[in-house]
Symmetry: C2
């Protein structure tokens, strides 16, 4: 089986629909045996609700568990309800605690309790402990299903523990080592374990420099650490260094993808990725409107400020209506240069490329770039204006100089605003954009009209 | 050791600088024993070149290998040259083939050969084979250091092979299974291997539905598959299904981070992330100018088109100069709505949220959202204009209606352009932005002035 492309997906879907409508349970069981649970989860949501429930009860139990881990909370809650009690208990028991918490966290308290009632005591305790943490922190994405041993365990005993706990554990490729009051003291990989002498105590061969994260660390920090040190899993500790969970690399990948999407959406002032599939059209539209409106309202006030600035130069405009022609050009260029500078600055802050002390370096870089791209564009514009306006050298001088000044200012503002926001502790990705566009529009218009008034008075007619 | 923050980094750096200047090699050796290679790599680049070389020759050989894998090509080439021959051969031999190829790929042919001369025949062959592939494909990021067994191997034999090859392999957590002409027929995890009966042939317990990628697949596709199926490594095959390499999850994380950055930068028309550290200021500025100028030039022509449109309405403008006041407001709002729609559409295309057939659904959604946010903003703007213009109901009607129409059009254009580009096979992330801004500016201005002319003629004075 290769990767799942569109044709392959439709193929699975059509087969399943046919079997379901023929009530051919045997065929379905046979067919799904060779389909990956992640693919089942993907096509499942395209079926009618009743068909989803029927298909789900036909899945082998381990596959049902994998599918539950891969779907959204609403579907999760509905499918679990559709299961017979016996099956429900087994499938929920096999689910890993972090995935369970992800689903439950998005459900109402009533729905949560409905499901928790079917968990065994140990799992229920784990889930309750995990539900406490903010979903964007290490605690919110960690799982309780890890393997740990005491430091005086021998390698042979450790491998035995591993064999026993393997079916429940999220990863068996790292064994975490603690002292007798559960404080994290080391780590050993399965790789090291299988090449070691059976009788040797773990503490002699473990790596004591174990890299861990605090339970309250932001998930973005977790991703940074896992990515930097190329880990398959990272232990999570509390303030006393007690081992309380682990985070595996597959969850870290989800975090990185989620954060990348968030970063992109922040730039356009929309707070969440809107998925067109999940809910009814009406609900989705309201969600979209809510997430996008705030920034638009800010832009309205920015635009009104621009209008006020222009009205201050209304005399210049009425005597020289040609000035209005180049307002969109100037605004567009300023906006672009500013966005380029701010995006690169924000991204360099996010990826850690800008360290303390690099602020001046960044600013100088961006200003020089602004001066050079500004020069290239201004010369081009001046030439075009010269031809468009039949050799009106004054207009071509005004537009050219204003454009250059505007672009340099825009690059400066685009760099300074995110750097300043970062310094005073505001997320530059969220706050920069509306602030920058408005400021650049206003400074750009002021520069343009001031220059125009001055030049027309001194050089004109 | 917890995660490396700024203080910790400076601490390591200052210690190392002190020891290096005191020529205290013993202290250095002792100190670096407890530092992670990834941290050494990070502080190394902040040292003077001579200090870098000295420090590097003092590293234990396995640490030197890890550091080489983590640094940029230029530093790699310089550090390798600084090593004594014997050490050079060992360290290069231990490097994994994918990292070696990443470095060599960015060096001149002369430098490549300088380093290749110290590789043993097998490694040199691997590297030569890998250098052929485009760096953005599965072939470009795969490694040759994987473990595979024939399908008739027993579990006991497989574990023995694993023990033997473990030091060289990139991952030992999956063993890939081939037939006797090296075609990929299955996979078995170390987890399954250690709980199986020693005498059992692999083919009886392996998973025959092994998920693989083709050597020519795009690295983004590789990341999508690994992320979807939560894999720790994925095998790479050629068109005959022959196993030729593997890609591990840590490299996939790098791909995801790289692609996310690229996606963000594409939105602002800058083609690469500019790192302020690597080269001299002059070179960096030229690189930045080159990558940003193309989009700015396109914007110049867009702005000129706008100027042409406005000049068509110059009569309306000279009789009613107030119209100019609200041009930045209208352009700003249209631009924002258009960018929101296009960003969400582009991101939904990239993350696979928009499947075939969802095009109509997406469009309807965005148009409705545009109508609603447009309504809210238009009413607000109309009210403000009413007060600003001392109850000029005509102006407030013109601006309000034009704004609403403009925002709905902007949402439509912002959605249609990326969808269309995708349909005809152009990367929507790159091409959409300049095209959309210009189109929205021009349609917005046309709507505004046409409406104004009509309304003033029919309703005015």
């Amino acid at each position: 089986m290769d990767t799942m492309n569109e044709d392959f997906r439709i193929d699975i879907l059509e087969n399943l629909e046919e079997f379901l409508h023929n009530n051919d349970d045997e065929k379905i069981r046979e067919f799904i045996e060779n389909v990956h649970p992640a693919d089942i989860a993907e096509v499942l949501v395209d079926l009618e609700d009743d068909d989803q429930n029927r298909l789900f009860t036909l899945l082998p139990w381990d596959m049902a568990t994998d599918v539950l881990e891969d779907i959204n909370s609403e579907t999760f809650s509905r499918l679990v309800r559709a299961l017979p009690i016996e099956q429900k208990i087994v499938v929920l028991d096999m689910m890993s605690s972090d995935d369970m918490v992800d689903k439950l966290g998005e459900l109402s308290e009533l729905r949560q309790q409905e499901i928790m009632a079917f968990l065994n005591d140990e799992d229920a305790d784990d889930v309750k402990a995990l539900l406490v943490y903010d979903e964007d922190t290490a605690g919110g994405i960690m799982t309780k299903d890890y393997i740990s041993v005491f430091q005086d365990t021998t390698c042979y005993e450790a491998i035995e523990i591993l064999r026993e706990e393997a079916p429940e554990a999220e990863t068996i490729y790292y064994v975490f080592v603690t002292d007798h009051i559960e404080r994290l003291v080391g780590v050993i990989s399965l790789r090291e374990l299988i090449v070691s002498k059976p009788g040797q105590p773990i503490e002699e061969i473990m790596n004591p420099n174990v890299i861990s994260v605090n339970v309250n660390d932001d998930q973005e920090e977790v991703a940074r650490v896992v990515s930097k040190y190329d880990l398959l899993a990272i232990p999570v500790v509390d303030d006393e260094n007690t081992l309380i969970g682990i985070i595996t690399v597959d969850d870290v990948i989800d975090v990185i993808e989620e954060e990348a999407t968030e970063d992109i959406l922040k730039f356009v002032g929309s707070s969440e990725l809107e998925d067109y599939d999940d809910e009814g059209l009406g609900t989705k539209i309201i969600t979209s409107v809510r997430s996008r409106l705030p920034w638009l309202i800010i832009t309205v006030f920015g635009g009104m400020l621009s209008a006020t600035v222009i009205s201050g130069f209304q005399d210049a405009l009425s005597t020289n209506a040609t000035l209005a022609l180049f307002m969109p050009l100037l605004a567009g260029m300023g906006g672009n240069v500013g966005t380029q500078s701010s995006t690169l600055t924000v991204r360099n802050i996010a990826t850690g490329n800008i360290e303390t002390g690099d602020v001046m370096k960044t600013l100088i870089h961006e200003i020089f770039v602004g001066m050079l791209v500004g020069l290239a564009c201004s010369l081009l514009v001046a030439a075009i204006v010269f031809f468009m306006q039949d050799g009106n050298y004054l207009m071509c001088l005004i537009v050219g100089v204003a454009m250059w000044a505007n672009m340099v200012t825009a690059a400066t503002i685009g760099t300074l605003v995110p750097l300043t926001f970062k310094r005073i502790g505001i997320d530059p990705a969220v706050a920069s954009a509306p602030f920058i566009t408005t400021t650049i529009d206003i400074t750009g218009l002021s520069i343009y009209f001031t220059l125009a008034t001055l030049m027309i008075t001194t050089l004109g007619n």
